[in-house]
Homo-oligomer: 411 residues x 2
Amino acid sequence: MEKINIAVAQSGGPTAAINATLAGVFERAFESEKIGHIYGSINGIEGMIKDDLVPLDSILTSEHDLDLLKKTPSTVLGSCRYKLAEYDPTDSVTETEYMNIMSTMEKHGIGAFFYIGGNDSMDTVNKLDRYIKSVGKDIKVIGVPKTIDNDLPLTDHTPGFGSAAKYVATTLQEIIRDSRVYSIQSITIVEIMGRNAGWLTASSCVLRANGEPAPHLIYVPEAFPDGFDMNKFFEDVDRMMKRYRAVIVAVSEGIVPSDRDYVKTGADAFGHTDNSGVAKYLEKCCAKRFGCKVRSIELNVMQRCSSHIASATDISESVRIGKAAVDCALAGDSGRMMCFRRISNEPYRVEVTSEDVALAANKEKFLPDNWITADRSDITMDALGYFLPLIRGEITPEYRNGIPIHFRLNQ
Amino acid sequence: MEKINIAVAQSGGPTAAINATLAGVFERAFESEKIGHIYGSINGIEGMIKDDLVPLDSILTSEHDLDLLKKTPSTVLGSCRYKLAEYDPTDSVTETEYMNIMSTMEKHGIGAFFYIGGNDSMDTVNKLDRYIKSVGKDIKVIGVPKTIDNDLPLTDHTPGFGSAAKYVATTLQEIIRDSRVYSIQSITIVEIMGRNAGWLTASSCVLRANGEPAPHLIYVPEAFPDGFDMNKFFEDVDRMMKRYRAVIVAVSEGIVPSDRDYVKTGADAFGHTDNSGVAKYLEKCCAKRFGCKVRSIELNVMQRCSSHIASATDISESVRIGKAAVDCALAGDSGRMMCFRRISNEPYRVEVTSEDVALAANKEKFLPDNWITADRSDITMDALGYFLPLIRGEITPEYRNGIPIHFRLNQ
């Protein structure tokens, strides 16, 4: 049997685990007798269009390289936000793009292409797979999920989410300690990533497993289909201020306060047109309303790149799903998205399956409504059993001069 | 010989190491035959004024408690920003305060008081010591430094600084990875704590020891005695954009751009009166000037409370200086601030000494001018040898449910 070469690419926003999936694809491909060369496509699908590939088998040359790669955040191959258009032979731009991809595939003898990404990337996998089948070529296209947002359908959870959740829990707990030092009343508002789906914000409830009541209020976008009522918010905060000296609020970046019409007009109630987030806005409102010490904190990109506090469960699962993707292609499947299916919470067990990628492309998965409390300001204890296994276990970074070492492509 | 009791308090802004110093004071006092009970004063000097003490010897009851305490950020005893006034017998408020402190001291048989804090706290140590000597009492008052700002004179560096610097370096490196994923030009501006002193911002140069050129621009307050010229800043950024696709800028929170007159007028050049930091301001200016992708990130309180990535050197030195403070008081000294004196960089060796606290009170120590490059936009390699030993070594948090365990007073 003739060997095939493969190509792998990374797409969308960075996570702490996306390189672990790349390492998983590489490891399984490297040990397979059916696979020859392993190429990395630079900047996602852009590398396939532009024929910008690197020979991973001469870059990742030791166990140590692979170990470092698994502990390196973001995407060593670069990423893109490029969304492949539907194939249209009457549109010369699209036609050329598909031709260029096929030309890159053929030039390098690519028999399978692995795309590690989120919703948009699954759309690209779907389109490319359908095109390849339509022209009768035998090239497998497999999607491997990644996103800290955990908003992909079909899979129990997404690689990258557990590490982001572990970072959020660890950091929030430290912020809670910090917020309690003074004897005065204070409010601390922490903004967590997630525009439409509140998975990561909701995961902050894991601190309760260790007896920590904060965050006292948790606001997710799914809880407010009719808008985020500021009067109700003030009531919530006021109630918590009666119970706690240092009130901690976790809020999803996707929350849009009812009196904040900047989305429509470009300006908020303060007349500002700046791009500051919801936490900064709520900070100003609370300072005006309650007159106490108020602080807002954006966890920002640290949520998606803090590999030094990655979840060992997440990293090992991310490697595992990358390996399974190679198995899936070698078994002859194409147009599939790799998925986790949870078998049990305690003991935590998952299996890796695959589903038709068309069912995932461009779709979002939201937090179950029964995990949101009746008053919409908190997460129920039901969610704990889902979140806890995903943040368990620690990786040990390798340090040089007191700083974690990252794997770098160009060194 | 009759035993004395002691009291210890924590003051000022939190750090990841201030509880380690408390643990050091406790451990040395607990093993001393000259010391009976060990009290903790709640919320710094406020606890002494209000007689709000807790019996630490019945709270810290195991090696495990002490181990957790050393790994817990912020102040378990609470803190305060309260500055003791100069003793003035003609002012009844001040008179009452000093009387209350002495009453608390006498009620609990306190023979030595340890105050862990920054510049303001050393002022309190100085005033209290002089008062006690003036009334002929035999109570030792010792200051133990702590601040992530590293701006205390007399000591080579301050406990808490090394952990903050390790957090900044680790996180900046992850942000650098995150910033490089796309193929487009971008600028990332990271705001680091330090209003007047740029030690923490400057410490970001440690990444160069591992071959990382970023941050490409490092701005500290000491470099701009005549104001931060925005035209020069744009020139610096422009120059770096020609060399790097993803430009990383580290900026001290204390930098005040020349065209930002909010300090005087309450509004910035955009007409905003908000309290957003300098990074957000520079982000807006760069977006307008260069039209490329610009992001600003505030490392916020995480810089001072991220004990999960604390420097082992910092934590063990913080314990050590706390122990030395007890030795200092038992040797009969008072009105002293404990200090580190650096003997050598490689191998790194320090000794603990003490100095007259009056020489430290209310004074700030600034970055040496010869560590700032001639063009004021970077830190010289001379600084590396100073910073590197302070961030070395890792502590291992104890985890439960995937989240570090903190010591909590009220559990």
